[in-house]
Amino acid sequence: MTATTRPDLSVTLGPLKLKNPVMTASGTFGFGSEWADFFDLSRLGAIMVKAVTVHPRQGNPMPRMIETAAGMLNSIGLQNPGLDAFIAEKMPYLRQFDCPVIVNIAADNVGDFNTLAERLDTVPGVSALEVNISCPNQACGGIEFGVDPELTRQVISSVRARTRLPLIAKLSPNVTDITVIARAAADGGADILSLVNTFVGTAIDIKRRKFRIANRIGGLSGPCIKPLALYMVWRVANAVSLPIIGMGGIVNASDALEFMLAGASAVATGTINFVNPMAPVEIVEGIEQYLQSQGIASLSEIVGTVR
């Protein structure tokens, strides 16, 4: 490859083709409109919007978030305007960009997941569904589907039956063996796996002798979880043949490349979006530079090459 040829950053995740591998993780990028001043959303590989539930949700009481060593705990409780408002008010904005829109859907029962899938199946501009079976707090409902292989299979296959859209199963890291859940999601008919969601954690205020989060527990995200998320991506990549969207603590191109070398075909930036709103596009540029400096013509060549 000569220095002047630009490396090919496009990636294919089963039915989903992206111009570059960098997406924004659900819940860390709103519904996109807040970012208009920072960069053109068309520069993203894809946008994963905040979790949508059938009905609007107020979410949990405050305080909802607390910073920890190299990370943060959050317990938002899925505050969102609900399916109708999402379709009516958020999609028209998102549709304008040359950027696939992946809708993260959350529910505490299979029926609601079905409703979400059926309704979104026909909404113009929706490129894929990401099934959030891994929300780490009770606000998602009594059951955390993502820690049980059988429930995982059931909910994924039920959603599968209701949409022709590419289906992404978003896995929880709070499990003994994530490959078991990954296989269950594959069996249920997922096209793509995304991992990881947040790790369950907490923090205590010793002066007030209370939890620092109103909901007592929250989900840990940020650089602190990167080694754990990377391990899980590597494990799943070696166990299941579905393409993977890797995330967890990515702050720069080097982190993103670690995930791809471990087996992710694409990545998502989460908490770093709060800190460096330009991170997603800087990562796209950084990956391109890396490929150029390493003399690699196409990004897909390196996916999963560290075994």
Partner: protein, 270 residues
């Protein structure tokens, strides 16, 4: 327009006990920031502390293209901020949030109440009102703190063409007491229409807000919540805003986006 910018530190001075003013060069921000808006400041590129912290715009000099913030060195972030040197760059995102809006009518007396490190946006607002130079409008500022050494902007406020009240818990400067004492007394003396604006600790905002609600005085308060993103996407900064249409009687609104300035009578304090 919201910017993400690396801006140089032009000046950095201790202005009171543990309080520092940092002046930064950014024509973009100096030009478009409005009183009550804030910036998200990054500690440094090692991301430790990880997240940005919100600081209000204190003074702007549109000609020089500079603005400043005032901070109280109290936690890891603000204590570390003290070590930043003139000439170094700081990454800022902003200006963010909404702002204090003056009433259209010039007849209304504006009472601005600042408490502790809530004073910076109050100063910015007062200086803008004062610069408008409308002699027909009365602007009153009540600036309070625990003691003199924690009062922000004693000299700066005094140079404005406004009615100025200082108040400290221990009486070390100005009146002894709390800002609501002065506010109550000032409201009682007032005949014409009046509007109150406040920024300070939550307890103070509640007290000021309630005092105004009882007297049917319109009041805008700038609330202080954690601001994990400041950009309107994380939902970690919400406040309960009364909403008859909602089955719960409220909806959560983002203090970084719909706020930080809300009408006091709309807030459901938790």
């Amino acid at each position: 327009m919201r910017y993400q910018l690396d801006v140089p530190i032009l000046a950095h001075e201790r202005i009171a006990d543990c309080e520092y003013e940092m002046t930064l060069l950014s024509p973009e921000i100096a030009n478009c920031a409005r009183p009550g808006q804030f910036l998200q400041i990054l500690y440094d590129m090692t991301y430790n502390p990880f997240t940005r912290r919100p600081f209000s715009v204190y003074r702007v000099d549109r000609e020089k293209g500079t603005f400043s913030i005032v901070y109280l060195a109290r936690g890891v972030f603000t204590q570390g901020l003290r070590n930043k040197q003139v000439g170094q760059n700081l990454s800022v995102v902003g200006p963010l949030g909404n702002w204090f809006t003056p009433p259209d009518s010039p007849d209304v007396t504006l009472i601005l109440v600042g408490g502790g490190v809530g004073a910076p946006p109050i100063y910015f607002f007062a200086s803008e009102l004062s610069a408008e130079g409308r002699a027909d409008r009365t602007v009153v500022v009540i600036n309070g703190a625990r003691s003199e050494s924690l009062l922000v902007g004693v000299r700066e406020f005094s140079e404005l063409d406004i009615e100025m009240h200082f108040v400290t818990d221990d009486g070390s400067f100005g009146a002894r007491g709390v800002v609501t004492d002065v506010l109550l007394e000032r409201l009682e003396r007032q005949d014409g229409p009046v509007q109150v604006y406040a920024c300070g600790p939550t307890g103070m905002l509640r007290a000021v807000g309630n005092l105004c609600i009882e007297r049917d005085v319109p009041c805008q308060v700038s609330v202080e919540t954690p601001m994990p993103c400041g950009l309107g996407v994380c939902m970690g900064c919400v406040v309960k805003i009364k909403d008859a249409a909602s089955p719960d009687g409220f909806t959560y609104q983002r203090s970084c986006y719909e706020g930080p300035v809300f009408r006091a009578d709309e807030i459901l304090w938790e």
